[in-house]
């Protein structure tokens, strides 16, 4: 005969599995629907940020635009993001990366 304790464990195990399945389905639907908007919004913001950093601190990659005085004033705020910015700007891109490749469903 199943003890009450093991019955509780079985039920909570089953509930946990169902809960996990529901979470997976939710993630799947999110991935198919809203995730592309999140990515696009992030990409748009990143492009603006990249442009801003390029204008203010472009001399790091050999594109001096602003006088150094302003660059130095902004430098402490930009330092945490500089490595990622440089990599993003200078990374070689595949031709398909220029447009929304993930929308082309073939």
């Amino acid at each position: 005969m199943t003890s009450p304790r093991s019955a509780i464990k079985t039920r909570s195990g089953l509930l946990a599995r169902l809960s996990g399945l529901a979470m997976s389905v939710k993630s799947f639907v999110y991935g198919m629907t809203a995730y592309e908007f999140e990515r696009h919004a992030l990409a748009e913001r990143a492009r603006l940020e990249d442009l801003f950093v390029l204008i203010t601190l472009g001399d790091i990659i050999g594109v001096p635009i602003l006088p150094p005085y302003y660059s130095l004033r902004l430098l402490p705020f930009a330092v945490p993001r500089l490595a990622a910015w440089k990599r993003r700007l200078l990374r070689e891109r595949h031709v398909l990366e220029n447009e929304e490749y993930d929308l082309i469903e073939l």
Partner: protein, 629 residues
């Protein structure tokens, strides 16, 4: 054979292939390691390299790969060879080749700092591989633009209940983009409004439409359009009145039936391009122009989103109908087309006739449901940079491909149960039959099938033109600045597309697209095989599919070139007014030769690289390839 058996078979193949083959390869050969840092975690720039959870990425990757390709391919193959060879290729192809192509392309990219396949090919195989791949991509996109454009214009012109839904889609798409990005409306609200209105208009299209049974045995049913359809018919007639109903272009298409009054043995013109057809071609071009020039959030993305929902709902309901049909409406569940269309499987060759042997043409016709090169490109450019954990690659890449197989299966079943029509009309009628199991009137279900099909194809089409413009700029922008002008790039792409639509024989266009897609798949498999050799792993599971796909698709390219010459160029070259058809066929022959030569060059370079890394050649390198293992 009925639909329930097919659904069970697909589910079984999915489970067995994934559980006993795919997981074994992942564990023993690729040796996915959850402790290894992926590029998404290493770089994590919050934009391109962003770790995403397995479930989210599975949905994202599946949506990126599953759309019109598996639908159109399955429809065409069923019509040419019957349902049995098509089902077998879908099941066997995805089990041994398809899942592995997607999975390994993503894994190889993950193990190489998120580099794209062309960058890896540049390093591992030969520098010219990247340039050749760019040429490949452009012509591949041109072929898909021509094939899809042909379908869309055909449906817009021939199905008067559909165009209003497309116009509504455009308006709702632009509204949706504005709501989401400018007015900051909630996504669920935006979805309910835009998708809801579009669905209502889709359903309104066939309202009042009557489908009367055929007057004679074996004849076509008579259709009396409802109010919406009658407006469109009136518009088409008004446009055709410009030339008094006479066609602008006409030629003989060997893949279409001759007119009923044609003298026997004489190849009369059976394709008649009327002014109304040209109008819808211009409409499609305008749609694609807007999609290519406007910011992505303004037009292409929201339209794609709405189109996804319409197609998703149609597919889910149709799948449910297919599974339940055997219990509720057994007649719907029975497959009505032949299991095998001809006993010789298309292998007998006759001069002047199209040659459609099962091998290699089936494997080029079902392009995306079993295996696709495009998926490998997408996976290596986007998905691989979001993989959080190496053990996620199999469910995301391999799982998505197995799931896409079910979409191809559904399309095949829809065509097989339709009982009337060929191609897209058969698919729509089949979807209507499946939806009738759930209580939806058949003609409304068929209209939903037509509209969802056109919606999914048109949303892909606009983006294909967009990427063609970008590829032109990338490839020729350094030689001449004019190619960097987006309007020039779009115009060139649209003109080429229109030429293909007006002159390309659709079946050959689709098969040539399929060949180029599968060739790309074999090239991506080649890169994977060379990488496996460079990292001293077993290559058999990748090498055999590579060789099979490579030989098959090279052969398919040659067969298509032969068919074009024998059945289009030769019979039409002496016919007045068929110059454009002959020109189109010659252009397609040149494209097929170009693809053949490009693939041969990459194949040769790949073979040399493979022998180098597997130590087969005397000049084998002693320094292993520069990649993380």
């Amino acid at each position: 054979m009925n639909t329930l058996y097919a659904v069970i078979l697909a589910a079984l193949v999915f489970y067995i292939g994934y559980r006993f083959y795919a997981q074994r390869i992942d564990k023993n050969i690729m040796q996915s390691d959850p402790r290894k840092a992926t590029p998404a975690r290493l770089y994590m720039d919050g934009v391109d390299f962003v770790p995403a959870s397995r479930g989210v990425l599975y949905g994202y990757h599946f949506k990126s790969i599953a759309a019109a390709g598996p639908i159109v391919g399955a429809i065409t193959a069923a019509n040419l060879w019957g349902w049995l060879p098509s089902i077998l290729w879908l099941l066997i192809g995805v089990t041994f080749i398809g899942w592995m192509s997607d999975y390994s392309a993503i894994m190889v990219s993950v193990r190489n700092d998120g580099e794209s396949l062309s960058a890896i090919a540049h390093r591992l195989i030969a520098p010219r591989t990247r340039t050749i791949l760019l040429v490949f991509i452009f012509f591949y996109l041109l072929l898909v633009a021509g094939a899809f454009g042909n379908i869309i214009v055909g449906v817009l012109f021939g199905q008067p209940q559909v165009p209003l839904a497309i116009v509504t889609l455009v308006i709702m798409g632009m509204l949706g983009g504005q709501m989401l990005y400018r007015w900051r409306t909630d996504l669920i609200l935006m979805t309910l409004i835009t998708v809801g209105v579009t669905l209502l208009v889709i359903i309104a299209g066939p309202l009042g439409m009557q489908v009367n049974p055929p007057a004679t045995q074996g004849g076509a049913p008579t259709i009396v359009q409802g109010p919406v359809g009658q407006v469109m018919v009136g518009w088409n007639n008004a446009v055709n009145a410009i030339t008094g109903g006479a066609p602008v272009i006409s030629y003989f298409d060997p893949t279409l039936p001759l007119p009923a009054d044609a003298p026997s043995g004489v190849a009369v013109a059976n394709v008649r391009i009327t002014p109304a057809f040209l109008f819808w071609l211009v409409f499609l071009s305008a749609f694609a122009y807007l999609g290519s020039i406007l910011p992505i959030w303004r037009f292409a993305q929201p339209i794609n989103y709405i189109g996804f929902w319409i197609t998703f709902l149609t597919i889910v309901l149709a799948s449910l109908g297919a599974a339940l049909a055997v219990f509720i409406k057994p007649d719907v569940a029975t497959l009505k087309i032949e299991a095998i269309k001809s006993a010789d499987l298309g292998f007998s060759l006759a001069a002047g006739k199209a040659w459609q042997p099962l091998w290699p043409m089936l494997f080029a016709t079902i392009a995306c449901g079993a295996i696709s090169g495009w998926h490998a490109l997408i996976g290596s450019v986007g998905t691989s940079r979001q993989i959080e954990n190496e053990t996620d690659v199999l469910p995301v890449g391999g799982g998505s491909m197995f799931t896409e197989m079910t979409l191809g299966m559904l399309s095949l079943l829809a065509v097989s149960v339709a009982g009337q029509g060929v191609g897209v009309p058969a698919f729509a009628n089949g979807v209507g039959n499946f939806l009738s199991v759930l209580g939806v009137p058949q003609h409304i279900g068929a209209a939903l099938g037509f509209s969802s099909f056109v919606v999914i194809v048109i949303t892909v089409f606009q983006l294909v033109i967009r990427v063609m413009r970008v590829t032109l700029a990338e490839g020729l922008g350094d030689r001449s600045q004019i190619f960097r002008n987006p309007h020039v790039g779009i115009l060139i792409s649209l003109v080429l597309m229109c030429l293909l639509v007006l002159s390309g024989i659709w079946v050959y266009l689709w098969q040539l697209f399929g060949s180029s897609n599968q060739l790309m798949a074999s090239l991506s498999l080649l890169v994977v095989t060379v990488w496996l050799a460079s990292t001293r792993r077993r290559t058999t599971f990748a090498l055999i599919p590579t060789l099979f796909m490579y030989v098959t698709t090279m052969a398919a390219t040659l067969v298509i070139a032969r068919n074009l010459w024998e059945t289009v160029v030769v019979p039409n070259s002496v016919r007045a007014g068929a110059g454009i058809a002959v020109g189109g066929a010659i252009a397609m022959i040149l494209v097929s030769i170009l693809l053949f030569v490009a693939a041969a060059m990459i194949g040769l370079d790949g073979w040399r690289a493979y022998r180098r890394y597997s130590g087969g050649a005397p000049e084998a390198r002693t320094v292993p390839a520069q990649s993380t293992t």
